[in-house]
């Protein structure tokens, strides 16, 4: 599967990329929400892994923009954040995110979640 990783941390993008590569997936990187929107519109992805706390455009703003675009809305999104907050989780899921994971993530959990949301 081809996955878009949207995270402002280059080390976190590499770590997520290692987990994806180990499971046989390919991936592209985006540095923030706006970059992610541009890349998600330009290329077909099976799934988007999205951070929340980012400059330019954060994850919540990204989800709001995604909701306006029917084509983009069809691409499943997994929110992956350090903020383990119920309110944030409810907001992200309410805006159409398909899953909400907290960092540090376990490789197997991320891979299984991708399989679950991209397969649905």
């Amino acid at each position: 599967m081809n996955v878009l990783v949207v995270d402002d941390s280059s080390t976190m993008r590499k770590i997520i990329g290692l987990a994806l590569g180990g499971a046989g997936h390919t991936y592209k990187e985006a540095e923030h929400g706006r970059d992610g929107l541009t890349k998600a519109k330009a290329e077909k992805f099976a799934c988007i892994v999205l951070d929340v706390n980012m400059p330019e455009m954060n994850g919540i703003e990204f989800l709001k923009e995604r909701a306006k675009d029917p084509a983009l809305k069809a691409v499943p999104v997994i929110v992956l954040t350090t903020q383990d907050e119920e309110a944030l989780k409810a907001e992200a899921l309410g805006l159409g995110a398909n899953s909400f994971l907290v960092k540090p993530f376990q490789k197997e959990v991320l891979i299984q979640t991708i399989a679950a949301v991209a397969g649905s």
Binding site: M12, T82, K103
Partner: protein
């Protein structure tokens, strides 16, 4: 005083806190002392988890750390407004407030240095994390390759590959064939030995034949003597012995032929015996040599086959071990991958802490202005700040930490 208060208000974060109805003169020093204490608490809480005692102490002052600055702003503003409303300050009040303001310098001195140190942490840890990730990738790639190779070898050895399977089968059948041939060669050698024994027995029979012929020769000699006597007797008989002379002549002719024949038979039997003796020796030597060479060759071939079969078993055992080790390495790498994420989590915590420190720094600056107006000395504040800086530099544990403190702007 009014001018200083305006500057203090301008410096503070413009969040509106809960209104305070009034402040007594004795509360001023207490409020400022609480502020200084709160700033120290904020500083120590900025990198601590929410469950820590410092965090709880801070929360008691104004809720969550992120909100503490706003509440402290309200406290300082309320203090300033109360003083302004009173319109005058006594020498005693100036002294109390000035002492409290000097206490603020503790926080004012520490904040920029702490900020400078904290700002370096993400850069340094990111560098280390990238290095770890690079090594992680290399180990993961090598581990995956080893596992893949081991898996392929096991599959081939277990019969997935016809070529390897047939090679193993050939090795086994070759070993069986060698063992069978060894038996056959052993049979040939035994047969040769048996034949040699037969030849020896035949040689003995030939010896017996020669003895018999020699006995015939003796009989022939005796017959020759009889013929001689008969010839003497025939001569004495004269004309009457004519018939005897004919018999004597025939007998002599027979004796001569018998002697010749016996001589030829003995010669023939002797040559045959010599030939059979040579044959026995040659056959025995050849058979033993052949047996030795064939057995040596078979021992070598059998050892090679055993080695080949053992190698295949050893390779399978090693490959299984490599595959299992690779799974273990992969499991450990997953744990490392999880641990590496803490660099980013730490970075975000530090960014949050720096935000709080920036707000507290603004508050501290405003409070210091207030303290100056109330009689605190900025010279004293600067002196204390420099003293702190020198103390921190001396206590710095790393070069990075020392540089960060030296670069920090007070």
């Amino acid at each position: 005083m009014a001018k200083l208060l305006r500057r203090a208000k301008e410096t503070l974060v413009p969040d509106k806190g809960p209104e305070k109805e009034s402040f007594g003169e004795s509360q001023v020093a207490e409020a400022l002392a609480r502020l200084a204490g709160a700033m120290k608490t904020v500083l120590s809480a900025s990198l601590l988890p929410p469950q820590s005692a410092s965090f709880e102490a801070l929360a008691r002052l104004g809720g969550a750390p992120a909100l503490a600055g706003r509440d402290l702003s309200a406290l300082i503003l309320a203090t300033a407004e109360a003083l302004e409303a009173q319109g005058q300050s006594s020498v005693e009040r100036r002294g109390e407030a000035g002492s409290a303001a000097v206490a603020l310098v503790d926080a004012q001195a520490i904040l920029p240095m702490a900020e400078s140190i904290f700002k370096r942490v993400p850069a340094v840890t990111e560098e280390a994390t990238v290095e770890l990730i690079t090594r992680f990738e290399a180990v993961q790639a090598q581990s995956a390759k080893a596992a893949d190779s081991a898996r392929r070898i096991i599959e081939r050895l277990e019969g997935g590959d016809k070529a390897v399977a047939s090679a193993a089968a050939v090795a086994s059948s070759t070993r069986a064939a060698i063992q069978k041939e060894r038996g056959a060669v052993g049979g040939i050698v035994t047969n040769n030995r048996h034949n040699a024994k037969k030849l020896q027995e035949m040689g003995k029979e030939l010896e017996s034949g020669i003895v018999v012929v020699k006995e015939i020769e003796e009989i022939n000699e005796r017959s020759r003597l009889i013929a001689f006597n008969m010839a003497v007797e025939a001569a004495r008989m004269g004309e009457r012995g004519q018939g005897v002379r004919v018999i004597v002549n025939e007998l002599r002719s027979l004796n001569d032929r018998t002697a010749q024949f016996s001589k030829e038979i003995v010669g023939l039997l002797s040559r045959f015996k010599a030939y059979s003796s040579d044959l026995i020796v040659e056959m025995s030597d050849h058979a033993e040599r052949l047996n030795g060479e064939v057995m040596d060759g078979m021992d070598a071939a059998e050892a090679a086959m055993e080695s080949l079969i053992a190698s295949a078993a050893e390779t399978e055992r090693l490959s299984t071990g490599i595959a299992a080790a690779s799974v273990e390495v992969q499991s450990n790498l997953d744990t490392v991958l999880e641990a590496l994420q803490f660099q980013d989590i730490t970075r975000q915590m530090i960014e949050g802490g720096l935000g709080i420190l920036a707000r507290i720094r603004g508050l501290s600056a405003a409070a210091n202005l207030l303290g100056e107006g109330l009689g605190g000395g900025s010279r004293e504040a600067r002196a204390r700040l420099e003293a702190y800086r020198g103390e921190f530099i001396a206590q710095a544990k790393t070069k990075d930490e020392k540089t960060a403190i030296m670069e920090a702007k007070g």
